[in-house]
């Protein structure tokens, strides 16, 4: 929203960047939240916070879900949902792991993993876009299917042969300071910002998410766009598998990674993407990914059990939604007031 306002022009061209509305935008609110969490952390455990390596491990702990968040943001933008991405992630890991077990070269194995993800995404996308089935149903059942396939193939075994760079990507820091995973996440984030905010494809997503019928009448290939977004989600699930396997120390089994899809959705929603489609910006989910990492870690430092942290996650999610709903409402009121004044002036 902030961007639009800053670009706002009258028909008589009245350009101007409005600092006030920029500072009040949801993305800025997220940054404030991030700062507050950091301050709390500094106040609570200054010793730990400034110890070298702490910040890095906080950030690293939240990066494996990052690619899923990016992919999910576009899916939600369409007004669809994908609850199969965690299963796809495991499926992709299996593809890579099995390839290596069968003696394929590393590069090829990684590629096969990514393609495995794209393949799963294409199935989802085809059923949603071309058959017209509701995305929730398709992805719930395909989630069972993809994880089921992993269960059939791996049974109770786990795969242990993965490229070594998987682990180093997830755990290493550039120059001992900058987490590799953060750099990669930010690069991917920048690409996604380009896709959604700057490219024609992104504009089409906004159009479809708000009014798919109008999109069709405006000459947008709605079905193809949907298919592509789902394939992108599949690809990102493949990328996530690299970080996930790395975080797990280079092994994977069929029961891992459950609940990642919900974390990804929650992060997107916290980032201001509406599940009804067509609303929100890419910056939000990127900041929200960091917030989630800090939040989880801070609570962990306070000796709060992982399961209890879920309560906090839940409350944060619901509060965020309530606040943003409230903001939307007061925003609308303000706008109608402004409009009324303009009408009177005429």
């Amino acid at each position: 929203m902030a961007d639009n306002k800053s670009n706002a022009r009258n028909l008589k061209v009245d350009d101007g960047f409005k600092l006030g509305s920029f500072l009040k935008s949801w993305e800025m609110v997220l940054i404030y939240i991030l700062i507050v969490i950091n301050l709390v952390l500094i106040a609570a455990r200054p010793d730990l916070y400034f110890k070298s390596g702490t910040l890095q491990s906080i950030i690293q702990s939240g990066m494996d879900v990052g690619p899923l968040v990016l992919g999910m943001a576009l899916i939600l933008m369409l007004g669809d949902i994908d609850v199969s991405c965690a299963s796809v992630m495991i499926f992709a890991s299996m593809c890579t792991g099995l390839s290596i077990d069968n003696g394929l070269p590393m590069g090829l194995a990684v590629l096969i993993g990514l393609l495995g993800g794209v393949f799963c995404g294409a199935i989802n996308g085809f059923l949603v876009a071309y058959i017209g089935m509701p995305a929730v149903i398709v992805t719930i059942s395909s989630s069972m299917l993809f994880r089921g396939i992993v269960e059939i193939i791996l049974n109770v075994n786990s795969l242990k042969n993965f490229p070594e760079f998987y682990v180093s990507l997830s755990w290493n820091n550039i120059g001992g300071i900058l987490p590799v995973s953060l750099v990669i996440f930010l690069i991917m984030g920048a690409v996604y910002v380009y896709i959604l905010q700057k490219s024609r494809f992104g504009r089409n997503l906004y159009i479809i998410g708000n009014n798919a019928i109008c999109g069709q009448y405006s000459g947008i290939d709605v079905k193809k766009t949907k298919l592509m977004v789902f394939m992108l989600m599949g690809f990102m699930s493949g990328v996530a598998s690299i970080f996930f396997v790395g975080r797990m120390g280079g092994s994977v089994s069929s029961s891992m990674g459950t609940g990642y899809e919900m974390n990804a959705i929650a992060t997107c929603v916290l980032g201001g993407i509406s599940t009804n489609g067509g609303k929100g910006k890419m910056y939000g989910p990127i900041i929200a990914t960091l917030i989630m990492a800090f939040l989880t870690y801070t609570l962990g430092l306070m000796d709060i059990d992982a399961n209890v942290r879920k309560i906090v996650t839940g409350i944060v999610l619901i509060t965020a939604i309530l606040i943003s709903n409230f903001r939307d409402k007061s925003d609308q009121k303000k706008k109608s007031l402004v409009r009324a004044k303009a009408a009177e002036a005429k």
Binding site: S141, L145, T258, T275, V308, N325
Partner: protein
Amino acid sequence: MLLCLLSQKGVIKVKKEQSFVSKLTGSRNFGLVVVLMIIICVAAVVTPSIFMPNTFIGMIQNNAVYGLLAIAEMLVIITGGIDISIGSILAFVGVVTTRYMSENMQIPSFVWILVALAVGLLCGMLNGLLVGYLRIVPMIATLGTMYIFRGLAFLVSKGQWWMPHQMTESYQLWATRKIAAIPAIVWILIVCFVIFGVFLAFTTYGRRIYAIGTSRESSAVAGIKDSVVIFRSMSLCGMLAGLAGMLYTANYATCVYTIGNSYEMTAIAICVLGGVSITGGRGRMDGVVIAFILMSFITQFISLLPGLSVWSNAIQGAIIIGAVGLNFFTIRQAEKRALKERSELI
């Protein structure tokens, strides 16, 4: 949809159209019945033992919890919502009743049924409050409470695992006591199917759930408050999930805070398979009962085949996609037929 469009144009002769619509409604479960038939035929050849009365009853007993959750989910889906917190409610309530039962063995066991209903109802009311009155998108609101209830389940259980010897016999008998050779949990399920079937089809309140799911706007004009209906549906849903939680622990005589993980997905799958429209306003109990039996049948069938238990998820997923896809296909065919009939009039 299409039909609605066609008739709005007022071109079709009403009588012809009616016969066609009744055909379409008749075939809404078409895909489902076909799949059930195929599975039964395969099962008859491969594992005839599945048709022994005892095996059959055992199968229903093992899956009864899914049946209860499916009813719960159905109440919410018909309003046009969704509740993904029921698996967590199940765990929370299960933990609550089990823990306090094991600590207070002298209290008569029927009290725990009441406690389960009450706690479940409270959980449901929280969901209802968030969705009905605070207007949060159902998927997101229940995603939040899903985390919260799961966390609460852990808090109450303190991570403890309860074994059969920690449970009073009378508590367990709520699920396992045989009445006319049929276990209590199955009786309870049957009673719930009947009660809620009648509730949805014949009571004012039940019909208003459909009205809300069909059109909020029309309901408002008719003087129906959507917030009230949604609040009550979600409360009832929580109550049923609570009942399922207590019966789960009684039936399996074990309890830990992780039970019921992703059971909501199976419940949603059963509903959709049973012809409940994910967009609300449609779906009948008979379809859900058939879908429940089908799902139980598949699980049982697979477990009877040696070494195939890992296939369960994949096959269930594939079957849901198949059955829903088949339904879409039959609807398309019906639409084509309708167009042909229309052509004769031109």
